[in-house]
Symmetry: C2
Subunit: 414 residues, 2 copies
Amino acid sequence: MGKERRLGGVAGRSYPLIEDRIQAGIMRHVRAVDRPVSRSELTEHFGVSRSKVSTEVGRLLEGGLLVENGLAESEGGRRSSLLRIPRSAGLVAAVDLGATSIDVALSTLGGELIAHLGEPADIRDGPQRILGRVKELLSGLLGEQSAGPQDVLAIGMGVPGPVEQASGLLRSPPIMPGWNLFPIRDAFAGEYAAPVFIDNDVNVMALGEHWGGVGKGVDNMLFVKIGTGIGGGIIADGRLYRGVQGCAGDIGHICVDPEGPVCTCGNRGCFEAMAAAPAIASKAERCAREGLSPILSEVLSERGELSAKDVGEAAALGDYHALEIIRVSGRVVGRVLATLVSTLNPSLIVIGGGVANIGHALLAEIRSAVYRRSLPLATRNLPIVLSELDQVAGVTGASVLAAEGVLQVPRVSS
Amino acid sequence: MGKERRLGGVAGRSYPLIEDRIQAGIMRHVRAVDRPVSRSELTEHFGVSRSKVSTEVGRLLEGGLLVENGLAESEGGRRSSLLRIPRSAGLVAAVDLGATSIDVALSTLGGELIAHLGEPADIRDGPQRILGRVKELLSGLLGEQSAGPQDVLAIGMGVPGPVEQASGLLRSPPIMPGWNLFPIRDAFAGEYAAPVFIDNDVNVMALGEHWGGVGKGVDNMLFVKIGTGIGGGIIADGRLYRGVQGCAGDIGHICVDPEGPVCTCGNRGCFEAMAAAPAIASKAERCAREGLSPILSEVLSERGELSAKDVGEAAALGDYHALEIIRVSGRVVGRVLATLVSTLNPSLIVIGGGVANIGHALLAEIRSAVYRRSLPLATRNLPIVLSELDQVAGVTGASVLAAEGVLQVPRVSS
C-alpha cells in the first residue's frame, strides 16, 4: 500500500492516505495547532511511546505528508527538528454550491486558502450541468497553480440540501430538483482519484467559521445562515454535530407562530416563512404598495420588485417602516435563537447569509431578544456576531471537511 | 504513586487511579462493552502496539482495576485470557438529589447497581442537613455490603440546579436556597478520599437512560424530564453534551407563547409554566371549581388540592376535561420537542419525570405534535418513549458520571 508513496511526490497517491489512528491523530494535531510541532509534543499529546510516534512520523515523512521544518539548517543526528505539513503534500479542492452560485477554491492540506473563484449559477439546472461547470472551474484553478487532478488529495463540497453522511447523497432536497440521490462522488471519479466529502452548505459554513473565522478556537458555537431560507450549523465540543440523519441544525421550519403565514413546506408560521429574505421582501412590497415608505415605493416602481437588501438600505436612510420590518424579523430570529441558546448553551453565535448584511439594526434586535428570553447563565459572555468570512465561509469549510475527512483512518464499510 | 496499589485491595487507594490515556481508554472500553475483553481486541481498538497494551494492562492488573477472567482455569504462559473489571476493584457511590427526595446507591466500577435506597426530603433544608443525611444513608448502604468509605472509588451526584463543571458548584439554583456556590465536594472530603463528580439532575438521568435504560447504545438521544419543572439532557455522538456553562438542555424557560401565563422566572409563556405539573394541576383545580369535571371536583373537595397525577387518573376514567387538559399540555410539549428535533436530529426521545406517569394520552398527543411539526427526514424512525429506569435513572446516571470521571486521565489544573 505504502509503495507508491515512497516514490515521493503527490501524483499517483494511493488511498487511504492514513493507515492508523496515531497517524491520523498526528496529522490532525499538526493541522489544528497551525504551527510546527515537535515529536516530544506529539508523544506527550497522544500518551503513546516515543518510538511509536517516531515510527508513524517516519511513515508520514516518507509519504510526503509531513516535512521536517528547517531540516537543512539542523545539525546532523539531532531529532528535535519540528514537523509541519508542506505545500508539496498536495492540494484540497473545495466546492460551495448555493441556490444561485458556485464557488470553488484550492487550499493546502495544512489549511491555507490559495485560490478562490465564484460565479452565479442556478442549482435547478441539475447535477450534470452544475457539476460539469464545477469541474471546469476546478481545472482552471489547478492550471493556474501548474497543478492537475492528480495533485488533489481530497474534495470537499457544501450543497444547499440535506445530505446523508454515509452515502454522500442528497435526500429529497427541496430546492434542488434533479439532485435527489444523484451520485455526486461518481461525477468526479473519472478525473480525480481523491475521495469526495459532501455536507449541507450551512454545516460547511459553520466548519469554515470554526476553522478560520470568528469562531476559531470556540468549541461550542452556533452558525445561523439567514438568506432565502434559514439554516443552522452546530459545533459541539469542538466538532460539527450532524445528528442521526445529518439534519441537526435544520431550523428553518421550527414553528414560530401556529397562526403565521403558510410556508413552502405546507405548515404555518415556520421560522423561515417569517424571517428569511422572501418574508422581508414581501412585507416591504406590501408597505411600498400601500405608500407607507416613499423610498421603498420608488425602488419598487423602478425595478418591479424589492429585496431584503433594499429594506436594509432604506432603513439605513432612516425609513421608519423599513426599520420596523427589520425589527420584527430580528425579534423572530432572536426568539428562535433564545430557544437554541437554552438548548445548546453555546459560547458564540455567528450570523451569516444575505440577510445578515442588512447590518446593525437587525443584529441589535436579535441580541436584545436573545438576551431577554434566555437563561441569564447561558447569555453571560455570549457574543452574537456577523460572519467574518462571508463569501469564503463555504469554501473554507468545504476544505476543512475534505482535509479532516482524508486524514482519518477509513472506516471499514460493511 | 503506584505503590499503595501494589499492596492490593481497595483500601487506601491513591489518586489518580488512571495514569495515562491508554489506561483510561482500556478501562472505559471494558466498561462500555460490558463483557470480558482480550488484549488483542484492545490492541486493535486503540491502534497502539501490543506491548503498550500489555504494559498498561499489567499496571491495571497490579492495581486491581482489572482481573484476568478465568485465570485459575487457564494454562500457564497463555496470554489469551480475557480481562474484566472485578467487584473487588471498588465501589462507586451514587447520589440523586431531587426537590423532594434523596436517592443513594452503590454500584460496581463495572456498572452493576448493587444497592439503592430512597427517601423523601426537602432540598430547601440546605446543604448541611441534606448532605449530612446523604452521608448517613451512604454509610448505611456501605455497612450492609461490609464496606466502608475507603472502598468507594468515586462519588457521583445529580442535583436539581445548574452546575458549573470545572468547579462542581451550583450557580444560583432557583429551587435550592442556601446551595449557591456551596462546596459540595468538601462535604465528603473528611470521610471519603474519592473524587466527587456533580452534574444537573436531568443530565444525570440522561446518562442513566443512555447507559442502562431504553437509550442503551443510542448515540443521539434527548431525555426530557417533566415534573415540577421541565429539563432536558442531550446525548450527542455518544456523549453527554453540556454546553459552555453546563446548562445545555435547560429547556424549561423556552418561550412557547409570549402572551402565555407568567412563569416563576418573570417571563411569560415559558415551556414549564405551560406544561409542567403545577400548570396541569392549576388548570384542573379551575376546572373542578367550575364544576366541569365531577371526578376532579370530588377529589378537590376531599383533599383541598389536585395534582397532575389526579388529572391522569380522571382521564383514565374517561373524564373529558381531564383528558383535554392533558392533550393541551401534550401539544405544548410536542411543539417544543419538534423544535428540539429540528435542532438536534436525535434518534430517540425519552420522557421521564412525574408527569410522564400520566401515561398514554399524554404520550400520544406529544407524538402527534412532534411528527406533524418536524422535518419528515428527522422523524423517520424517531421513537418517543417513556423512561424505563424511572426512579433509578438518577442514581444509575450518577454512578456512570462517577465511574467515567474517575477513569479519566486527570486534567492538569491551572
